[in-house]
Symmetry: C2
Subunit: 483 residues, 2 copies
């Protein structure tokens, strides 16, 4: 008979029940070979008295070990350790703990993970793309969320449709038709888990590996990553103060990705003539246009230009938007507007990805939009953000000396401060350590030599803007950031 | 001067403001060429009087057209239609509306979308994998969801971490250690938007295109789709009443995917010896094991075997689970447990996919687990599902004549009724039209000749089970389903 008592640690009072502690301890001894095959365990009565615990505790532990196949036993005949699969068991907890022998990521996996950025720090100030979160009508939102869960929770608890909840698709279609001039109905809308997922879906489903894609340069980093992850070839296209410059002489792409309402990050609004020229090129080349309308709702000068999607009746323009900026980012809801003949295929593939976004959230968002709450919130935020834009711009002017280097943006949630002589990458890394989340303009560039800081104002109070600008100012004065 | 009045439709009272109706009508005439470049528009005063609307309405419409570049005007000099990008504009709304000339999905897109299943019908009865939704503690859930939104909504409103909300990762790690024998802490847990996303992430990041993957045959359809979408090669592995049969002679795979707690869909529980043999093979071949523990919480006979992940200290076993079955499917939350050195790469790639799951939902789920609500709910559901399992099984026995063809499942939410002589695919399609959501066993097969019905019981009352079984019985009696 084994001296099991000598091998076992003392049992403790705590969250883990005693029988489970005992089970785990014996199991470990079996797995690491201290209790070899066919050794006989003490009777439950004997072990209980040795350990001064109740016999019931021991019996529960033995039962679990029996159920899992670690031991065998028959009434009266005693309880024995089973011989397990192979003698390599002992190795398992000893020799092979080193990571060196483990498989790692695949080469594809290494490449894919290097494209991503990981998580941001939500405490940083002047980070681009962050809306004001204190002013969101939280009480109303809570009421809308509760409505379904109170009235008929089951109705929205089961699996839903990959295309998205019908009421939300209807509310989005109405909103996009009326506010953005998008030609669509609910059947063309696919609700996504954020705009990034929309880019991913389009890249995988509309493009072949190796296809050429026009991207703005400077341009949106997330889109670039999404395209490269889908193994397509990026063709950087120059951008001026009005946005992407169409080039009829360039090699024909399979897709043109752009942010026509408010070029990210440089801020231009694509004029009608360029929009039409691009639609014309897309028709000649029989290629797609992917219109990313990420923050078009916040326009301060002039009225918004209607979406390109509405200009092209042939259905070549795919349209992407998000609720992250007009509601809040952690909601994780975006949308695609597609020609109807593509919708079913997108939904089928979506069922392999994440199926659909949470339904209670979708339903609440639908009512938030349909009830007019969204438009009311946007109207208020447009005023607030315009004032913050003016404030940041005024504070920056003395700093950089010239309006040429920082146009007052007509729209959006950030401005683009040009600093052509500065190593913006080193600067932004330093600013990050000081709690300031401006992004380096160069990080958005492929071939463009543009340098500067992309500075968000929408989500920050005047005192935060003051603090952020002071830190930027000190950084520029104290350290040599020249390239 | 043009007779604009004759071209325009009557303005209506409704949701769309009159100025916008007018703007849209004129814009359309410009885009389709009825109003050619350089034609002069009537003055706002003149048009207002013609249309019998206020002059202000006309001025607003003109302003919008000016802002968007459709017309030009100078005070006193009149208002003119702009020449737009090209003469192909006229074509846009006329000739090219045909879908035939549009680009379609890429070949990759066609292939990917064919792998998916699209949406299910949540009204069907006897569908596998659907939990009971009426008994979920909705009031408590609502309270937990409201807590954060009431107290500190802003805190959870911004972008979060791709790895998932820390409290949820902690709660999951505690739960998995204690209830499932998984060796992990919060740093190893990645919160996913459902288990399917976990499979997708592992397939893309741990496997190279062309790598060989063992899948159970019959096996889970979603996993198979996720792997094929990542361009890997499936090696179907036979399954018996105890689950996957390890084959040391087979060509070495790069990953072994399996459902050891409760083989999907045939129901076996993988014995300890096979678990250890597989871990041993994985060590020899230096390959991954992906353990999908989708419904292990519902075990009715014996105690649950601890997870394979906990048997392998070397970190070769990646572990996937979901909250869809123990909470509710539309929540869209699942998790991965990874060796720590992989976590950062997974999170970086995740930022290109959907960034993270909604934060308020994650926070509420964290408290639901940590407060013990989850375990309490599971305990209740285990009793309920055991009774429903017995009920369905009793009702089926007379129907199929033999216990051989339908083992009473030890665990889970469905049973697997063998019908070797039946065209189960045609049968299940017919049943679908009758409101019964059983799945054909053959749909889960690659090389296996198994035929039958996968029938869910967890989410259905006894009267629903009665109705479902009657429909199945009638179908089997009335129609020849022989292959």
């Amino acid at each position: 008979m084994l001296d099991l008592q000598g091998m076992l640690p003392a049992l403790t009072d705590g969250d883990v029940p005693r029988f489970r502690q005992l089970y785990q301890a014996i199991r470990q001894r079996i797995l690491d070979g201290q209790l070899p095959a066919d050794s006989r365990l003490p009777s439950s009565r004997h072990l209980a008295s040795q350990l001064q615990i109740s016999r019931n505790t021991v019996m529960q532990a033995y039962e679990q070990l029996l159920a899992e196949g670690y031991i065998r036993g028959a009434t009266g005949a005693g309880t024995f350790v089973n011989s397990l699969a192979s003698d390599s068991l002992q190795q398992s907890s000893t020799v092979l703990d080193s990571k060196a022998t483990l498989p790692g990521l695949s080469q594809r996996g290494q490449r894919l993970s290097q494209l991503g950025r990981g998580g941001g720090n939500s405490q940083l100030i002047l980070a681009p793309g962050i809306p004001e979160l204190d002013t969101f009508p939280w009480t109303e939102w809570r009421r809308l969320l509760n409505q379904d869960i109170r009235r008929a929770p089951r109705r929205l608890a089961n699996y839903g449709q990959p295309q998205g909840y019908l009421s939300l698709r209807q509310a989005l279609a109405d909103y996009l038709r009326e506010s953005r001039g998008v030609r669509c109905d609910a059947a063309q809308v696919v609700v996504t888990s954020g705009a990034q997922q929309g880019i991913e879906l389009v890249a995988r489903l509309c493009l072949e590996p190796g296809d050429r894609v026009w991207v703005e340069d400077p341009g949106y980093i997330g889109a670039r990553g999404g395209f490269i992850a889908a193994d397509v070839q990026l063709q950087p296209m120059a951008v001026d103060d009005e946005g992407l410059i169409p080039d009829a002489q360039a090699a024909a792409p399979r897709l043109i990705y752009l942010t026509p309402s408010h070029q990210y990050p440089t801020g231009g609004t694509l004029p009608l003539a360029r929009r039409l020229a691009l639609i014309d090129l897309a028709r000649q080349w029989n290629c797609w246009i992917l219109e990313d309308d990420y923050d078009s709702e916040y326009r301060y000068e002039g009225r918004p230009l209607a979406a390109m999607q509405g200009l092209d009746p042939s259905g070549r323009v795919l349209y992407i938007g998000t609720l992250a900026k007009v509601m809040f980012p952690s909601l994780r809801l975006g949308y695609l507007v597609l020609p109807e003949h593509l919708v079913d295929s997108f939904c089928r593939y979506r069922s392999l990805v994440d199926y659909h976004a949470p339904l209670h959230t979708q339903a609440a968002a639908a009512r938030f939009i349909a009830s007019g709450n969204l438009l009311g919130h946007i109207r208020k935020m447009r005023q607030l953000y315009a004032a913050r834009r003016d404030y940041l711009w005024q504070r920056l002017l003395p700093l950089v000396g010239s309006e040429q280097r920082c146009r007052l943006p007509e729209a959006g949630m950030h401005l683009c401060q040009r600093l052509p002589e500065v190593d913006d990458s080193a600067l932004s890394q330093y600013l990050m350590t000081q709690g300031v989340g401006c992004r380096a303009l160069s990080a958005h560039c492929l071939q463009s030599p543009a340098r500067g800081l992309v500075m968000g104002y929408a989500g920050y109070r005047e005192d935060e803007i003051d603090r952020g600008v002071s830190i930027v100012q000190q950084a520029l004065e104290q350290r040599p950031w020249q390239r």
